[in-house]
């Protein structure tokens, strides 16, 4: 109950409300925007680098594709991949943290040392190394971004598990003869989930930032995919002739990350956390 109350409380702060509204607007744009796309996002519709006019409301890009249509289609990958990577990170991080926190054997220090090594990598370097070794594609990107998040999630889960494992109701269920996975899933997990998910929004912002950055560097999604970050890097060369092909996706990414982070900040604050202590990994 308290968790639910706290979750609603964030919407009462003005920054939380603004962020939430902006998130809904963007989600609507991303989900139903493609229906209103006037042109094929991948098809060449006119001359390259045309300024906005009646036919192309945001002009055309460096290959002559309609910028508006590409903008309407291009939010799916960024949000979808970030959500996927963040969820994957939580699933793996929670599993590792539960096992490490509940186990009283060598498994715990072993898992945590592995986590320390991942933390020692600058996140972007980690992704660049992966891109060199395993190629440039969305699957590798999601795997890499999830891996970058796992250690810090596992640490929080481990600490919360250790705290919860000594409670009376957990000991009672162990005494009843419940199996380990039942104890973890039914007794411990539901009680630590609130704590663990409190900074999900901040991690989602982090995923969006790093996925967009890798795509921008040309080391993630490959052309002709319609993706906001990729659009910026494709059209940078024509910025003097047709700034809108760069400005439109840049504004949308800015709008997206700020909106998600406003909500994340408001949620974390309503749960009594200081987000000042965290920064999304780059």
């Amino acid at each position: 109950m308290t968790a639910l109350a706290a979750r609603l409380r964030f919407a009462r702060t003005s920054s939380g409300r603004i962020g939430l509204t902006a998130c809904f607007l963007l989600l609507a744009l991303i989900l139903i925007g493609p229906v209103f796309a006037p042109h094929d996002p991948a098809g060449i519709a006119g001359l390259p680098l045309q300024r906005p006019d009646g036919q192309f409301l945001l002009g055309t890009d460096s290959l002559g594709r309609d910028v508006l249509s590409r903008v309407l289609w291009g939010g799916r990958s960024i949000v979808g991949l970030a959500a996927l990577a963040t969820s994957l990170a939580y699933v793996v991080g929670i599993a590792i943290g539960l096992v490490a926190g509940y186990s009283r054997t060598l498994v715990d220090p072993l898992l945590m040392r592995v986590m320390d090594v991942i933390l020692a990598f600058p996140p972007l370097l980690f992704l660049l190394v992966l891109a060199t070794g395993a190629g440039h594609n969305a699957g590798i990107l999601v795997f890499g971004v999830a891996t970058v998040h796992v250690p810090s999630i596992a640490r929080i889960v481990r600490a919360a598990t250790q705290e919860t494992a000594v409670r009376g109701y957990v000991e009672a269920s162990v005494a009843r003869g419940e199996r380990v996975h039942a104890v973890l899933r039914r007794e411990i997990l539901p009680n630590i989930l609130g704590t663990v998910l409190a900074d999900a929004g901040i991690r989602l912002t982090g995923s969006i930032i790093i996925i967009a950055s890798v795509n921008f560097l040309g080391l993630g999604l490959q052309p002709p995919a319609a993706d906001w970050a990729l659009m910026i890097s494709e059209n940078r060369g024509g910025i003097t002739l047709q700034p809108w092909a760069v400005a439109a996706p840049a504004f949308l990414i800015a709008f997206l990350t700020v909106a998600v982070n406003l909500v994340a900040d408001a949620v974390a604050r309503s749960l009594g956390r200081s987000t000042a202590q965290k920064r999304v990994a780059r």
Binding site: V117, L124, A131, T132, A212, S213, F216, I232, I239, A254
Partner: protein
């Protein structure tokens, strides 16, 4: 911190009777850093060698013939087992031999030592980082303290909100928006930071302005928020109240009593943010076409220049991990409670 007996050496400028376990802490932290680096080097090697396509096919590209491939493999010792290649790379690296660039060889047909390619780039990156840090430190302390002394007022809200927005933006978006706004629409400052052959970065410092601003945006926002948080806490403490009640001027209370005590955590925050600049520099250099080591790394990844990514990656990891160690050591040096803990 450590349960070991106090060592012989104590900080001469810290007048305490008890000897400090500081040296052991330093040695232990540095040793842990070196061990981490070793593991990171293994991961770098394994990570860049995941795909079956090897360096030889990257050198020859489309012109590859089985005979040519075999020749190159022989020449680059690619037919040796992976542990042996790893060891050769690492021992060479430690002796200053970073290996040969595959892309360089593909272009010139000659073995191109990586060390000959990166000298100027490291200098350029160092200049960019240095300018950013020189502005970051005073500005974050200044804005952070200012916001903290006005906590809850509109100036504080403005600083907090602006910094939240700045933190949220990826560097490449900040950089792109700055190029659009300042270089394109307002028409001053170059939007591309190229250095012509024969020139150095100091020939035209205006190329540094937008990259430094881009890097400052996210890192400054972060440090300001954290300095503010630390300072607000200190300003609420009993001894600050005591200093006020004793009739000290507010200025003295803030600068002489509160700031000094907030400085320990602040230094760590700033050190950590300098560490986090690593990723930002790579992206920022790419946005502005600035010829630093980060831009070269991105190009090497695109070209799958495995030896280059390995060696430059390890160099970056060394900087990153060293900064982490330094941040930890600084905190212990600056926070008396930690320094004297047994």
């Amino acid at each position: 911190m450590t349960e070991l007996a106090a060592p012989e050496l104590a900080l001469s400028d810290v007048p305490r009777r008890r000897r400090h376990p500081l040296v052991f802490f330093v040695v232990r932290r540095v040793a842990a850093g070196l061990a981490t680096l070793f593991v990171v080097s293994i991961l770098l090697f394994v990570g860049t060698n995941v795909l079956p396509g090897d360096v030889a096919s990257a050198v020859l590209g489309r012109d590859s013939t089985p005979a040519g491939l075999a020749h190159i493999r022989q020449e680059l010792h690619l037919n040796r087992p992976a542990p042996e290649r790893y060891w050769n790379w690492l021992s060479g690296f430690v002796q200053g031999n970073l290996g040969n660039s595959v892309a360089g060889q593909a272009v010139s047909g000659q073995p191109t030592p990586i060390s000959s390619l990166i000298g100027d780039r490291i200098k350029n990156t160092a200049v960019l980082a240095l300018f950013t840090i020189l502005l970051l430190v005073p500005l974050s302390i200044g804005f952070g303290v200012y916001a903290a002394t006005r906590a809850g007022r509109s100036v504080d809200h403005a600083i907090t909100t602006v910094s939240l927005v700045a933190i949220s933006l990826p560097e490449f978006v900040t950089g792109t928006l700055l190029i659009l706004l300042i270089a394109q629409w307002l028409g001053f400052l170059p939007g591309v930071s190229l250095i012509s052959i024969g020139d150095t970065v100091f020939s035209d410092l205006s190329i540094l302005v937008l990259p430094v601003l881009t890097l400052l945006a996210a890192s400054l926002a972060q440090t300001v928020r954290m300095v503010r948080a630390g300072m607000v806490e200190v300003l609420r403490s009993d001894y600050v109240e005591w200093a006020r009640l004793s009739g000290h001027r507010e200025r003295d209370v803030v600068l002489r009593y509160a700031l000094r005590n907030a400085l320990g955590p602040t230094v760590q925050v700033i050190a950590l943010n300098i560490q986090w600049l690593v990723g930002g520099i790579v992206v920022t250099e790419f946005v502005f076409g600035y010829p630093g080591i980060g831009q070269a790394l991105v190009q090497a990844v695109s070209a799958r220049d495995v030896p280059y990514v390995q060696s430059v990656g390890l160099l970056i990891a060394i900087v990153y991990i060293s900064l982490n160690v330094i941040a930890d050591l600084l905190v212990v040096l600056l926070v008396p409670k930690l320094r004297t803990a047994q």
